[in-house]
């Protein structure tokens, strides 16, 4: 009976908390609105630990309020000497044992979830299933590269993944330490300079719809002046559309049609192509890929990861990159461009599309 009561109370506490927290934040960003298996697991762990902790807080608060009100020194008690109590073994054992039990309740699911989240066996290269999607994430000052080694394509800034299945990630950094975080979809993992880190995420289709098809990703490790601006976007697609996207990417080539864009292409090929590639199949080694791949630039969500995706912002970025992202590596790598040149470049860049 008592147990049932406790369960019932815990359950109602859980649902009240879940309701409360769900009101927090935006569906494309908030860890409180989990959008996949990993985030779900972490969210339930959060709820469990919060429930236990609220229980502790409630007990402490009740005793606290009682003590503080009941044992105030009142008027006329100025000379009162309370009894000097040394302690109580019974009480001390109680408040040692109960916390231990509470912690065991928390420790078991923690350990189990920790192991589940690091299960990356399916990405083993030799035994990999051909349907398993693996993405190599390379973090750079201040942009992200996403390479699909099984499809031979590279993109950057916008990560495209299939929904409702586990996607596996290889994470590394090419300059300083960053950290790969898509709050709504799952916890973060660091991109180190000396080794590959691996983990998996799962992107829920329904949650993606709720988030209007785009999740926000962040760099979670201080990496320099523009750390705050090192955002990326995630576009989860149903498996079929994802496969179509891959096919389009494999065959994508820049095709400037109108004259202004052609002019832009010339400028690009003179000043930019040393760093930026415009085809998703970039055979250069990663050390040579020092700037984002622009093959599907026209489809992107944001300019430079943060500005609204329109021509005006692209011009602003090309004119003075440092005013948008202080400390970025593009500033000063190309000569001064005239307004006409910038217009042409903008036309050309916006024409780079696969969709």
């Amino acid at each position: 009976m008592k147990k049932w009561l406790l369960n019932w109370r815990l359950f109602s506490l859980f649902s009240v908390m879940a309701l409360l927290l769900a009101g927090c934040g935006k569906p494309f960003l908030s860890a409180l609105q989990p959008a996949g298996e990993v985030a779900d697991m972490q969210y339930s762990l959060m709820l469990l630990s919060t429930a236990i902790m609220v229980l502790v807080i409630v007990v402490v608060t009740i005793i606290f309020i009682y003590v503080v009100i009941r044992f105030r020194r009142r008027k006329g008690e100025e000379n009162k000497i309370p009894k000097q109590v040394e302690g109580s073994h019974k009480l001390e054992i109680i408040w040692t044992v109960i916390p231990i039990l509470l912690l065991i309740i928390l420790a078991v699911p923690t350990v189990s979830a920790t192991f589940k989240l690091s299960d990356v066996k399916p990405m083993n290269k030799e035994k990999r299933d051909k349907n398993t999607v693996v993405v190599n994430v390379r973090a750079n000052l201040y942009w992200w590269e996403f390479e699909y080694p099984d499809y031979g394509i590279i993109t950057s800034q916008d990560l495209v993944v299939p929904t409702d299945e586990r996607v596996y990630f290889n994470l590394k950094s090419s300059d300083v330490k960053h950290s790969f975080w898509i709050p709504a979809v799952g916890g973060k993992l660091d991109t180190n300079v000396e080794n590959n880190n691996q983990f998996w995420l799962e992107f829920d289709q329904k949650a993606a719809d709720k988030a209007k098809g785009v999740f926000y990703g962040k760099c979670a490790e201080l990496c320099g002046p523009s750390h705050a601006l090192m955002d990326f976007k995630v576009k989860p697609l149903p498996r079929k559309e994802f496969d179509q996207w891959v096919e389009k990417m494999k065959n994508a080539k820049p095709a400037a049609t109108d004259a202004v864009a052609k002019e832009g292409e010339e400028i690009f090929n003179k000043s930019c192509i040393g760093c930026h590639a415009v085809t998703p199949a970039d055979k250069r080694p990663e050390q040579a890929r020092t700037a984002p791949n622009l093959a599907n630039f026209g489809d992107r969500e944001r300019i430079a990861g943060i500005l609204k995706h329109d021509e005006e912002n692209l011009k602003k970025w090309l004119k003075d990159p440092d005013s948008v992202k202080p400390g970025n590596k593009m500033t000063g790598t190309y000569g001064k461009l005239t307004d006409a040149q910038i217009d042409a470049l903008t036309k050309y860049l916006m024409s780079l599309k696969v969709e």
């Binding site: 927290l21 927090c24 934040g25 935006k26 960003l29 908030s30 860890a31 409180l32 985030a39 959060m46 630990s49 236990i52 502790v56 807080i57 402490v60 005793i63 606290f64 003590v67 044992f71 105030r72 020194r73 000497i81 309370p82 009894k83 000097q84 109590v85 302690g87 009480l91 408040w95 040692t96 916390p99 912690l103 928390l106 420790a107 923690t110 920790t114 989240l117 690091s118 300059d175 300083v176 330490k177 950290s179 709050p183 799952g186 916890g187 973060k188 993992l189 660091d190 180190n192 000396e194 926000y216 979670a220 490790e221 201080l222 320099g224 002046p225 750390h227 705050a228 202080p326 400390g327």
Partner: protein, 618 residues
């Protein structure tokens, strides 16, 4: 000899003093100044984040401010203020006339001070460090200019000072206790100091090594963290956190000690479960060394390491919980007087419990992948460090102010300070838990509109201004008190239990005319309850041996300060290397002098002691 000492000017007196009470005041002033600097930096951070896309403090400059806020608050404000309390109180609490090594005590202070000044010189010499207080290796090697060099060299200097202080208190507590002061009769604050000092002894060397390695890499072409030459930046993370986690307990254990004293005093009751409190303190200190990798859950150490460190971290909650309940039951059945220090102590319990429970949440490794490096963590450690340590320092300052300066801080102003600070604190940091969960990473200088982060950040900024206002009122209180305050007696709170309340306020330079005999826990309380006026002396009145003051600690530290500049600029100017060597020579020559010139101290004669004591009674 002693009469000569009294004729020296005030400044010279403080430059050369080896008296633990004066060193406490030096720590209090220096730590207080750095606290104001760090607080100002915090305010700048909150102003920048008050609204999305703000341009008050952008990019690299913001990173400098955030780095210096963290570094200053931990190393240059909290640490020295803790040392101020320890120096002011611990020797008297154990019935000693001074610390074991008065000369080293002064040296510890001056090393900390010059290290801190060196670090802050960076603002005027090309920019402050900008890689966060953790200064992770890949970013700090990439950082241009000399900012990180200031961090690396400044912290080495002040770190040596802290290490010396730690050893000093260990020896003092082991060797200098008055007759009858057994280990299990030591006041809780002394116990906390003891365990803290042991933590300092074992935690600071790894930091020093980490800093030396980084110095080698940045200034002398080393390859410890250079992946291209085989280096590994994870080594820095380990070394830093092997220091960094115990550092949290180095700060918070003395805070626990301060509150234990205050709860007992103002409840007029002996500390509940004293022996389990001692046990819990030692256990926390021990476990503090076993959990460092919980700061590295997302580094990619693998599930086995993460699981082990998660469970070990959770274990710390048990002794901490024991303490919380013991404090509550100290008040239970007591006669609680709500003085300013007691208000901080009472407010500390719910505030710190919040910080503690979010700590347990962080320990759940799999969930921590979400919390890590987000504002949730920022909220968590501010609840621990402000709600625990800063509350304790404010409480301790109010509590022992009359002991240190002989005048009582104004209680009304004290309570206003308390309420403003308390409200501001919760306003600033509570909402940050949610900001973090809603996807706000820490250490970002701005955020975009439309991501749901505006309201929370604005509330947080408002709270910061409350805390700033509280600090200003505290300063006003200090000024008013020093101008107008009335002289107080030995036991101004009336409910003092431990030995420091048995000597005059401020205490004479020899503390005790006669070393007291300690007959139990709360030695003064026992005597009071038996209706005695003072302590039972353990020795006849006689000449008192005192240490000589010396300028050498100041010069030794100055030498290292100069050396640090020399080595920092050696790549730019070749002659600078000689400045570095010259600075080291100054230090070594002083050490040589200290070694070869005998220093036997001096004696205060019996008659003089009698005269001083008469003055106190009159």
């Amino acid at each position: 000899m002693s009469t000569v000492a009294r004729k020296k000017s005030l400044i010279w007196d403080y430059l050369t003093t080896v008296d633990h009470k004066k060193i406490a005041i030096l720590y209090l002033i220096a730590g207080g100044l750095f606290f104001l600097v760090g607080g100002l930096e915090a305010l700048f951070i909150r102003i920048q984040l008050a609204k999305p896309n703000n341009d008050f403090l952008v990019g690299g400059l913001y990173n400098e401010v955030l780095t210096m806020h963290g570094t200053t608050m931990i190393f240059l404000a909290a640490m020295p203020l803790v040392f101020a309390m320890m120096n002011a109180v611990v020797p008297i609490q154990i019935g000693a006339r001074d610390v074991a090594f008065p000369f080293l005590n002064a040296l510890g202070f001056w090393l900390f001070f010059f290290g801190g000044v060196f670090l802050n010189c960076s603002w005027f010499l090309g920019g402050a460090p900008d890689a966060g207080w953790t200064s992770y290796a890949s970013l700090s090697l990439e950082s241009p200019g000399h900012g990180i060099d200031f961090y690396v060299l400044g912290l080495q200097i002040s770190g040596i000072g802290t290490l010396i202080g730690g050893i000093n208190f260990l020896v003092t507590i082991i060797n200098m206790r008055a007759p009858g002061m057994t280990y299990m009769r030591m006041p809780m604050f002394t116990w906390a100091t003891f365990v803290t000092s042991a933590l300092i002894l074992f935690a600071f060397p790894p930091l020093t090594v980490g800093l030396v390695l980084m110095m080698m890499d940045r200034l002398f072409g080393g390859n410890f963290f250079n992946a291209a030459a085989g280096g590994n930046t994870i080594i820095w993370e380990h070394l830093f956190w092997i220091f960094g986690h115990p550092e949290v307990y180095i700060l918070v254990l003395p805070a626990f000690g301060i509150f234990s004293e205050i709860f007992a005093t103002f409840s007029r009751k002996r500390l509940f479960g004293y022996s389990s409190m001692v046990f819990a303190t030692v256990l926390i200190g021990f476990l503090g060394f076993m959990v460092w990798a919980h700061h590295m859950f997302t580094t990619g150490l693998g599930p086995i390491a993460n699981a082990i460190f998660a469970v070990a971290t959770m274990a710390i909650a048990v002794p901490t919980g024991i303490k919380i309940f013991n404090w509550l039951f100290t008040m239970w059945g007591g006669s609680i007087k709500f003085t300013t220090p007691m208000m901080y102590a009472v407010a500390f319990i719910p505030s710190f419990v919040m910080g503690g429970v979010t700590g347990v949440m962080n320990a759940a490794a799999a969930a921590d992948y979400q919390y890590h490096d987000s504002y949730f963590v920022v909220a968590h450690f501010h609840y621990v460090i402000v709600g625990g340590v800063v509350f304790a320092l404010l409480a301790g300052a109010h509590y022992w102010w009359p002991k240190m300066f002989g005048k009582m801080l104004n209680e009304t102003l004290g309570k206003i300070t308390f309420w403003l600070f308390f409200i501001g604190f919760h306003l600033t940091f509570f909402i940050q838990h949610f900001l973090g969960l809603m996807g706000m990473p820490r250490r970002i200088f701005t955020y975009l509109p439309g991501q749901g982060l505006e309201t929370g950040n604005f509330i947080s900024t408002v709270g910061a201004f409350f805390m700033a206002a509280a600090t200003i009122i505290l300063l006003i209180n200090v000024v008013i008190t020093s101008v107008k305050g009335e002289k107080v007696s030995a036991d101004p709170w009336g409910d003092g239990r431990t030995l420091e309340w048995a000597v005059a306020s401020p205490p004479p330079e020899y503390n005790f005319a006669q070393t007291p005999l300690v007959r139990g826990l709360d030695a003064l309380w026992i005597e009071k309850m038996e209706g005695k006026k003072g302590l039972t002396p353990a020795e006849p009145l006689g000449d008192i041996h005192m240490p000589n003051s010396s300028i050498l600690p100041f010069v030794i530290s100055l030498g290292l300060f100069i050396a640090a500049f020399g080595f920092m600029y050696h790549a730019k100017y070749s002659w600078s290397l000689f400045v570095g060597i010259g600075g080291l020579l100054i230090t070594f020559i002083c050490m040589f002098l200290r070694s070869v010139v005998d220093d036997h101290g001096f004696h205060i004669h019996k008659e003089e002691v009698l005269e001083t004591e008469k003055g106190v009674k009159a």
